[in-house]
């Protein structure tokens, strides 16, 4: 796999968020997008995910532009935004079924996924009753419910407690050592042991 951003420009209203951005992300690497609030971290991640078009420049996945290669890219990518992507009327178990159905990946063991993100015993609890940190953990379950090569994480640490952040780091390290790649935005310090972390400051 390879992800390349070529000559990306992005404007928001009259503001220039970034220009001439050229980056490539290789397997086994973590790219942390850093910068102050409102500098375009989330916008950049949205552009990489394909949710938003760059004003100029293009994103390439395995050598093909994202528009040409959208289906393959969507199969191999997991998107975790600051909105958790949870249906609050449904239970934790139903939410996992929902997100795996959307990803067209129904072959999952829900109880082991919930155990992995520390929500064992909450399978039948409505998500509405969850705390912000628990919702975040449930959103993280998408990372372990489907094999993917690229993770796009927008502020993944928000609302997580120390144990939650440790779990996230574990998941990232496991993913990267297996040859996956991660692009994440963060305004916290990211410390991942034994992993090469590239930082892009916007």
């Amino acid at each position: 796999m390879s992800l390349q951003l070529k000559n990306l420009h992005c404007y928001r209203g009259h503001r220039t968020l970034f220009t001439n951005l050229d980056i490539s992300v290789e397997p086994g690497r973590v790219l942390v997008v850093a910068g102050k609030n409102g500098c375009g971290k989330s916008t950049l991640l949205k552009i990489i995910s394909g949710l938003r078009q760059a004003d100029e420049g293009e994103v390439f996945w395995n050598g093909l532009s994202l528009q040409e290669n959208a289906t393959e890219f969507e199969q191999q990518m997991i998107w975790l935004s600051h909105r958790n992507g949870l249906n609050e009327s449904l239970t934790a178990k139903e939410n996992i079924q929902y997100s795996t159905s959307l990803a067209n990946y129904t072959d999952v063991n829900i109880s082991s996924i919930l155990e992995r993100v520390g929500l064992k015993g909450y399978a039948n609890t409505p998500v509405r009753q969850f705390s912000a940190g628990m919702k975040r953990r449930l959103a993280m379950s998408r990372l372990v419910s489907k094999p993917a090569k690229l993770w796009l994480l927008d502020e993944p640490q928000s609302a997580l407690d120390k144990a939650g952040i440790r779990l996230l780091d574990e998941l990232i390290i496991e993913h990267v050592t297996q040859g996956g790649a991660v692009v994440m935005s963060s305004h916290h310090d990211v410390s991942l042991t034994n992993i090469t972390v590239d930082t892009l400051t916007l």
Binding site: K46, S49, G50, L51, R52, Q53, T71, E74, Q75, M77, W79, S81, H82, R83, N84, G85, L86, N87, E88, S89, L90, E94, Q97, Y98, S99, T100, S101, L102, A103, N104, T106, D107, P126
Partner: protein, 226 residues
């Protein structure tokens, strides 16, 4: 292929389950519709002739407003909770997911109105012929209301309180449906044939069923990119 169908089946079930869990919200159009139809005779008096004359108008205006009221919530939860992003990035074509959502929405919002409408029509004194035609106009007209309304609703998704704007955008487009639907019922009550108006309603229905999902998909993509 099989797993795709299974996934889509799961997604359709989820829609219905979500509506069932939020049944207070899902039932409010039906309650609004029934209340308007029941309260109207109390307001205008018990003249059977008068009620029979205005019955198609009452029922259609009540149905139209009930659907308009609920349109603000279409895709609203998905947008706020972030599941809309997952839908757009899903491996299933977005248009398929949108169609599932809209069919479920019609079943949950409009079908109960259509089931109750004959009782309301009977109560307001419509003849059996007119009741049949009224039912047909609702079956053909409510999909138009929902599909056209859904375009406006998705276009205004990024605006937090979109109710007023939605009504302004949508009401002019609802007027033809209202006129042809009520005139179909009125014509039958006067002994004429409703075929002309029904054909036009059917044409509007086909037009919105085929074209509006494309517009809704485009509007949703704009919504998530913000």
């Amino acid at each position: 292929m099989n797993s795709t169908l299974q996934s889509l089946y799961f997604l359709a079930i989820r829609e219905c389950l979500t509506a069932f869990r939020n049944r207070h919200e899902a039932l409010s159009p039906l309650i609004f519709f029934s209340l308007v139809c029941v309260l109207f005779p109390l307001g205008v008096g018990a003249s059977a002739d008068l009620l029979r004359t205005i019955a198609p108008g009452i029922i259609w205006v009540a149905a139209l407003l009930a659907i308009l009221m609920s349109l603000g919530t279409l895709f609203r939860h998905e947008y706020e909770q972030g599941t809309l992003e997952l839908m757009v990035l899903s491996e299933h074509p977005l248009i398929v997911l949108v169609v599932i959502k809209l069919v479920a929405y019609w079943l949950i919002t409009a079908l109960p109105l259509i089931v109750v409408a004959p009782f309301m029509a009977y109560g307001l004194g419509l003849t059996a012929d007119a009741q049949g035609v009224l039912l047909l106009t609702l079956l053909l007209g409510t999909p138009v209301l929902i599909l056209v309304g859904a375009i406006a609703s998705t276009l205004t998704l990024v605006i937090p309180q979109n109710g007023m704007l939605l009504a302004l955008l949508v009401l002019p487009l609802y007027v033809p449906v209202l006129i042809f639907a009520t005139s179909a019922v009125n014509t039958v009550m006067m002994g004429g044939s409703a075929a002309g108006a029904l054909y036009i309603l059917a044409a509007l229905c086909v037009l919105s069923v085929t074209l509006s999902p494309l517009a809704i998909v485009a509007a949703l993509k704009i919504g998530v990119s913000q």
